[in-house]
């Protein structure tokens, strides 16, 4: 095997090796987001987003129709603003309800969209008015205990 063939193979090896390191850093470690899929944006404001994460699925009737693209806090109303990217061929009515749900006890958090009966559709950048916040289990348990206690107090 002559020298230039060896150089070529070593070059290929080093290139794909560094390619693998880049893959681990960019795609797995998420140093940069490279994927830009087509679709349109919808916005929804929630009182509490719970454990919602970037790229969490947006589901309608359990079918994934989009992804969460950005999450930030509205500095005035202290609501969480969630921007979703929805597939281009799926349209939602203006009275759609967005709710934050969890699949299973340990499963991931997703946004569920329930379309209403309105005839006007939401366009790019449209805002979903009716939202239902994430259920925080600790609060729920606290409320339950509080109710129990006050019930017991009332009976006495």
């Amino acid at each position: 095997m002559n020298r230039s063939t060896i150089d070529l193979w070593v070059g290929i090896f080093v290139a794909i090796g560094f390619g693998a390191i880049l893959f681990l850093a960019l795609k797995v470690g998420n140093l940069l987001t490279l994927d830009r899929t087509s679709g349109y944006h919808l916005q929804a404001n929630f009182d509490n987003i719970g454990g919602l994460k970037l790229r969490a699925p947006v589901k309608a009737a359990g079918v994934v129709v989009g992804r969460v693209e950005s999450i930030r806090l509205d500095p005035k109303s202290y609501e969480g603003i969630v921007i979703m990217r929805i597939d281009r061929d799926v349209l939602f009515t203006k009275d759609t309800i967005a709710s934050i749900n969890t699949s299973g006890l340990l499963g991931e958090v997703y946004i569920g969209l329930d379309a209403g009966g309105d005839t006007v559709m939401l366009g790019d950048g449209g805002r979903i008015g009716k939202t239902q916040s994430a259920v925080v289990i600790e609060k729920l348990i606290g409320q339950f205990l509080f109710d129990k206690a006050s019930d017991a107090g009332a009976k006495k």
Partner: protein, 274 residues
């Protein structure tokens, strides 16, 4: 006034103690020899790098020719991890976490360790056998005779080729493993692709997770290469000596990888939530 019997027992005892002492001092002397050897290799490295084609040739032999075994092993390890992980996770309805499970175990642990073990048995043994045979056929002495330093000409290029190849091979192992996990998890078992990548990206940090894996593979590469060239250089110049040196390379470097892995993991361990 001791009877001959008790004298014999005393002799046996002192002989045993002497053997133990010999083994301990021999081991310590070996560590010193290895350190001296490593210094010599690094000292002669500039001469080796001036003739880069020697190192490139060795990268070809230990890196490029190890690609097939590393890539197929990575793919299959990833696919198996995916199947096994899915089986447990799906019981808790947490099968979306498959991506982070597979990625973290490959990037932090299995990639560097398994690639290191494969590298030790595929390339390390070949390096030892080659250098040992060179010594047995007196090629190394002939080089010294011609005023060519065998450490600069033979040992340093092989050492550096291992140090350079190992992190690249480990990264390829992890990348192919994640791809294999994707094939099984997403394509076959039907885990949501967005959740697979999304959970992975949320859970795996470039610093420290990916960098720790690269540091581990660099350390393993250095250890395996040093053990391989040292065993070859130190081999008895007989057929038997070369064969036992080759075996020792695989055994010692495998143990070194596992022990170093534990030490490095202890240093990199962050505990819960930090």
């Amino acid at each position: 006034m001791s009877t001959p019997k008790s004298g014999e027992a005393l002799d046996e005892l002192s002989q045993g103690l002497r053997r133990l002492g010999g083994a301990v001092t021999g081991g310590i002397a070996w560590i010193g020899y290895a350190a001296r050897f490593l210094t010599a290799v690094i000292w002669h490295s500039p001469a080796a790098f001036r003739r880069l084609h020697l190192t490139l040739r060795e990268i070809y032999f230990s890196g490029v020719l190890s690609l097939v075994i590393i890539l197929t092993s990575g793919l299959f390890v990833g696919m198996v991890l995916s199947l096994q992980g899915y089986e447990v996770l799906v019981r808790y309805g947490a099968d979306e976490q498959l991506g982070i499970l597979v990625a973290l175990s490959l990037v932090k642990e299995l990639g560097p360790v398994l690639a290191g073990l494969l590298f030790a048995s595929r390339a390390g043994s070949a390096i030892t056998a080659e250098i040992g045979l060179m010594k047995a056929t007196e090629q190394l002495s002939a080089m010294e005779m011609m005023a060519v330093d065998p450490i600069a000409r033979v040992v340093a290029p092989r050492f550096w080729a291992g140090v350079i190849s190992m992190p690249l091979l480990a990264a390829l192992f992890s990348a192919l493993g994640i791809f294999g996990a994707y094939l099984i998890g997403v394509r076959v078992l039907g885990v949501d692709a967005g959740a697979f990548w999304g959970q992975m990206q949320a859970g795996v940090k470039v610093w420290p997770d990916v960098t720790n894996g690269i540091i581990k593979s660099l350390v393993f590469g250095t250890a395996v290469s040093l053990i391989a060239v040292l065993d070859g250089y130190d081999a008895k110049p007989t057929a038997e000596g070369v064969s036992s040196a080759t075996t020792r390379t695989v055994v010692v470097s495998s143990l070194a990888i596992l022990a170093l892995d534990f030490v490095l993991t202890v240093f990199m361990f962050r505990g819960v939530g930090s």
